[in-house]
Symmetry: C2
Subunit: 210 residues, 2 copies
């Protein structure tokens, strides 16, 4: 079976920074050739019998030192020349990671520096897919926001992913249509500048994977 192509899993590790109101992408410096010292998406070679999700979790742990909350498939890249070591399939997965972990290098999703391999292309091709998953894919959305979040955070996340800040009223209606999501009677403490305290939303179950 020496003639088969190798498979790598490359991860778009995402973290929602509530303070900066931005979605951050986790990247890491490559420790060895090829592209030693260059920045790249965290990726690992898929082990025999390993599931894609497990490989993504492993990549995030090894290369970023973070714990993954949820993952999902994006696209598979198959240009034979994408890895100088030889033909390697790359299955791109998104991974929502815990925002508490400090981790290594995090960059705004809309301002990613040049990356090794064909990772610039991977990020570019996957960017619109991530945007489409917000509010439509509960695992994705819950992974970024956590099990409990405020309307203010939802507004910020939506603006970060779509580029437009929705009207609070309309977003509230959108969220009420998301299966598994419930508005609670709680209210968060409001921001330093004052303003009405936003209500808290919560996911009912752990929200199944996509």
């Amino acid at each position: 079976m020496i003639e088969s192509t190798l498979v790598s899993v490359d991860v778009l590790a995402l973290r929602f920074d509530t303070g900066a109101r931005a979605v951050l992408l986790g990247i890491s410096e490559r420790p060895q050739e090829p592209f030693a010292g260059a920045l790249a998406l965290p990726g690992v070679l898929l082990r025999r019998g390993e599931r894609l999700r497990d490989a993504a979790v492993r990549a995030a742990a090894d290369k970023l030192g973070v714990k993954v909350r949820a993952t999902g498939q994006l696209i598979t890249f198959d240009e034979p020349s994408r890895d100088p070591r030889g033909p390697t399939l790359s299955v791109a997965l998104w991974a929502a990671v815990d925002p508490s972990a400090a981790g290594r290098t995090w960059v705004p999703l809309d301002d990613v520096p040049h990356l090794a391999f064909d990772h610039d292309r991977i990020v570019a091709d996957c960017r619109p897919l991530l945007r489409d998953r917000l509010w439509r894919d509960p695992a994705f959305t819950a992974g970024l926001l956590g099990t409990e979040f405020t309307t203010a955070q939802a507004l910020d996340l939506t603006e970060a992913l779509t580029g437009e800040r929705p009207y609070p009223a309309n977003l509230g209606r959108t969220m009420e249509r998301v299966p598994g999501l419930r508005r609670t009677t709680q209210h968060a403490a409001s921001l330093p500048k004052g303003g009405r305290p936003p209500s808290v939303w919560r996911w009912e179950q752990p929200a199944a994977q996509a």
Copy 2:
């Protein structure tokens, strides 16, 4: 690199039968173990350096004896036990094939018999994705309908994929919004029972791959 997983490409080969007004799925009897004699999706092991599309074309040619018009990615299946020979990733692709070729076994997409491996699951999981591609993915739509087709065929194909027959008027407006698709001034000969002859539609360019 002995510890890497193998990759197979499994193809949902689709053919639009204008006579039967149905979308047919190409399946083939497995010539050897495992599942010798059982029906399965045409699939091949991905060769080193081979592109997914090329592997899909090869699978369709080898197992079905048909020529492929267009292909596209669907999902990747990664259950380690899906192939009794050992862990094998399966990348599912759709392929639109020329309807003229007689080929081997063709079954209605909505009445697929039990298949080997996890191919029942692949068909079930991919079915809604195919439905979503109609009129949205020009390569997919053009692949099924050919470069020139009538409104009547468009109605039939839509009914076959979505389960509902649209109003001719509304489908016409939908088609006018599809990039690259133009209504010609030609009219096809009408059906035996009479009725107004439908107009002919044509794709401008060969319609790029998705």
